[in-house]
């Protein structure tokens, strides 16, 4: 039990150190711009269709489930409010980050893990090439940028999907649904003239993207023992990313809406 706890603490320490090492290399962003653009393509454009598909169905599910309950109290006109707030605050950022962890995060861990077990990382080291600046920093920046952008898409298609269900299955007119969506996203009582539900969600997405990238790269960098080790690294990357997203989500939600 003690060894599990120490291993957990060592893991956290390693990942925090990796994050600091990445931040210390931000000065190399211009030099690494080609790699960052490549990773933006890999991490973003290639998963857009997944985010759109999942996002629209999540919006439809939220709309249907809440709409059926609200109908019992004659409150169907609030469906737009609930769908908009839940998509922007929680579902959009969480679903997008989970998709990225499962697709891009696993691929990162497998790619870097394969490099580790095939001695490519050792080759970089003996050539005195900074593997964090070359491999980790571009991926962290790409995911931290792409996760909020994908979240915007996820929010938007989720709200549209919710409107489709509200109109076609719950007899809530589209104009009424849309008015309640707009009303729900008017709260700007923070330092930005943007809907708080939107920017809090986007901030969370930014953090989730960085979390997924750091955890996935960290798992890959520490992969050992051939194909089995790469498999373990991939599984660990996805599992730890999702756990970290959920834990961080709670604390950031508390920070934005309770503190």
């Amino acid at each position: 039990m003690i060894s599990v706890f120490t291993a957990f603490l060592a893991d956290i320490g390693y990942l925090l150190d990796l994050l600091v090492q990445v931040v210390l290399r931000f000065g190399a962003i211009v030099k690494r711009r080609a790699l960052i653009l490549e990773q933006l393509w890999q991490a973003g454009i290639k998963v857009v269709h997944v985010v759109l598909l999942v996002g629209v169905f999540i919006g439809m599910i939220v709309s249907l489930q809440t709409g059926l309950e609200l109908a019992r109290f004659g409150q169907q006109d609030q469906i737009g409010t609930i769908v908009a707030i839940s998509m922007c605050r929680e579902m959009g950022p969480f679903i997008t980050a989970t998709i990225l962890a499962a697709t891009v995060g696993s691929a990162l861990a497998a790619e870097i893990g394969t490099m580790a077990v095939s001695e490519e990382l050792s080759a970089l080291e003996v050539m005195s090439i900074d593997r964090i600046a070359l491999l980790v920093m571009p991926r962290v920046i790409a995911l931290a940028i792409m996760c909020p952008l994908l979240t915007v898409l996820c929010d938007a298609v989720g709200i549209v999907g919710g409107g489709f269900v509200a109109d076609s299955q719950l007899n809530v007119g589209l104009s009424l649904y849309w008015d309640s969506v707009i009303d729900a996203l008017q709260d700007t009582n923070f330092f930005l003239e943007l809907p708080k539900d939107v920017y809090s969600g986007l901030f969370k997405s930014f953090c989730f993207g960085a979390i997924v990238a750091v955890i996935s790269c960290g798992a890959g960098l520490r992969a050992t023992a051939g194909a089995l080790g790469v498999g373990n690294a991939t599984r660990k990357a996805v599992r730890d990313s999702i756990i970290a997203i959920i834990v961080a989500n709670y604390f950031m939600s508390w920070l934005f809406f309770q503190a």
Partner: protein
């Protein structure tokens, strides 16, 4: 080794040559121990590699040959004993000094360890792009020159997945040579290759040593490799280096352990 060996015999058998001055010794191991958990890999290893020579280490699988190379380049640190490269104690060397030292060394990995997402040309260019301020034109010129030297000039635009095993080794060798190193470490340079390709790689290593006067430390299983490449050879067995001699003496030796180890290979 017999316990009644003289001190000179022991030193000779352990790869130490009393006739060479310190300045001639580029790699020195003194009583080096290394264990991974309960498994002892190096158990008092002594080794000296002289400037300009190519020293081959043979030994059974898992005996610590690659571990020895990794100590030389600073990828591993010994548990005890002394590892010196160009007079620098590798356990006390700073990061900056290690970077400088590595820039004067090349390492040819067993599986070439080329980055799969870069072309062969970009792989060879990587150390120059990352650690020097040379212009792209100058880098391309040097890369083409090294690919020509290892006789794979057509590989420049190809990805590693498009190269054969022998071509990958040559590109790995070109990458090791790109910084014009004074010392090259070869980890099983002919492993997994057919006899014809192995022979051509061996002759290439020998030719590079003769033309460029580079010091080499070669880890190998192959007798053909030590015959062609080696100036001296030793057997790493039980964590220590034994029977250090010229390849001809090594192969002709009647030492029971050597005969046992080399038996099948000589056949």
């Amino acid at each position: 080794m017999a316990s009644d060996d003289t001190a000179d015999d022991r030193a000779t058998n352990a790869g130490l040559d009393a006739t060479k001055s310190s300045a001639d010794v580029i790699i020195r191991f003194r009583d080096v121990h290394k264990a991974f958990g309960a498994r002892k890999v190096l158990a008092g290893l002594n080794l000296e590699v002289h400037r300009g020579e190519t020293f081959c280490i043979m030994g059974p699988s898992g005996c610590g040959k690659s571990v020895t190379l990794r100590h030389v380049i600073g990828l591993l640190k010994q548990d005890s004993g002394l590892v010196e490269v160009e007079g620098n104690d590798m356990s006390k060397i700073s990061r900056k000094e290690l970077r400088e030292m590595r820039s004067r060394m090349g390492y040819v990995f067993q599986e070439a360890a080329l980055l799969n997402w870069l072309t062969a040309g970009a792989n060879v260019a990587l150390p120059l792009r990352e650690t020097t301020t040379l212009s792209e034109a100058e880098i391309e010129r040097k890369v083409r020159e090294k690919l020509e030297l290892v006789r794979v000039p057509d590989a420049y635009e190809k990805l590693p997945s498009e190269l054969s095993g022998g071509m990958k080794k040559r590109v790995g060798l070109a990458r090791a040579l790109i910084t014009d190193p004074e010392l090259i470490l070869y980890d099983e340079p002919t492993a997994g290759l057919d006899p014809e390709i192995s022979s051509s790689i061996n002759h290439l290593i020998r030719e590079l040593a003769d033309r460029l006067h580079v010091t080499g430390l070669v880890v190998t299983h192959h007798i053909g490799c030590i015959k062609t490449v080696g100036d001296r050879v030793g057997l790493l067995d039980g964590g220590v280096l034994k029977y250090v001699s010229t390849p001809a003496e090594f192969l002709a030796s009647q030492e029971p352990r050597l005969v046992q180890f080399l038996g099948d290979r000589l056949d």
